[in-house]
Symmetry: C2
């Protein structure tokens, strides 16, 4: 129905995560009608990112040099490693300003159905980092969902023989949320993890 060039763009946009066929069509028509400079701006942003951005040799976070900004920062404590699934999780935790250690980005979570096993993640590199003996705490900050929990459980088991404290981020009610709107799993976790007030 569309010309080949338009259909090709719709297909390529539709292959991106979270872009359905309707969105891909809307985006393609927007780009078709957009000023040439807008499209060139997007193209050069894509090029620039692929040219400049790589992954940190140590932690797997996104970086513009061998090491990411966090691993390269001498003020960050080498005694604590926070293990996350993706670079965007690093950004989310950095925003809290709660953590002064370094990160380890796994590049995903264990997902047997999706065909992602421990060997597909940067787990070997985590143990290489732990071999230095500098690290006293590993914080497992994988997502609070099935895959993330499975990954945390797997790592906790593998970390047990080592002389490090292993912790997991607390699950519970979102701050500012309404108790009645919390799903039962979250509410159950909040109960399980209740803390003394006195």
């Amino acid at each position: 129905m569309y010309s080949a060039a338009v259909q090709d763009l719709i297909d390529k946009l539709g292959a991106l995560p979270g872009i359905g066929p309707k969105s891909a069509q809307r985006l393609a028509f927007h780009l078709l009608a957009a000023r040439a400079e807008e499209v060139e701006g997007l193209i050069s942003a894509l090029r620039e990112v692929k040219l400049r951005v790589r992954f940190c040799d140590r932690c797997g976070n996104i970086a513009e040099a061998d090491l990411c900004d966090i691993c390269a920062d001498p003020r960050r404590l080498a005694t604590a490693i926070c293990v996350v699934e993706e670079p965007k999780d690093v950004v989310a935790i950095e925003r809290t300003r709660e953590f002064r250690g370094t990160y380890h980005v796994l590049g995903g979570a264990i997902d047997p159905i999706g065909g992602v096993g421990p060997d597909d993640l940067r787990i070997r590199q985590l143990f290489t980092r732990l071999a230095s003996g500098e690290v006293s705490e590993v914080i497992l900050a994988t997502d609070p969902n099935g895959e993330g929990e499975a990954t945390a459980a797997y790592l906790a088991r593998r970390l047990a023989p080592l002389d490090v404290t292993v912790t997991r981020l607390a699950s519970g009610l979102p701050v500012g949320g309404d108790l009645e709107y919390a799903d039962e799993v979250t509410l159950g976790r909040a109960f399980e993890g209740r803390r003394s007030m006195n």
Copy 2:
């Protein structure tokens, strides 16, 4: 928080219609981690579309030549023009195989709040086409929402002095839908437009 290159890509993606800040971030991280060929494929699809695709001189639909495929097709009837807002509406109507005439793409709808007036649409070009006297029916197929109805009403008024039949697509219940889930405006329209069964 992000490096300049990553933030720039997130900003450019987030400026596209229907892409919020979260989606823009997810897309940027996907593209960061994607194979270089995938990103180059997307870039060349964007380039190709801007290079090859233009708008039909006659009807404003997307085209790869002076005229779009429909205007260039001698089997299409020159006696009926279906007026739509956007090229994607042409695709939707073509899919029904109900219409053998040609189209006229306005490039939007009258929207006083959004600052779109009749002069911002391809209305002058529509009247130029009608001046040939060949056209006997103009079908107003703008969207069944506020802006689309206003545009149809405006065009109907302007077309009234001309010797052409002016029609509007029927509003009513979606085929295959449940009556109880129809919103009251649609249901009201369905009543208003009820047809005799005998």
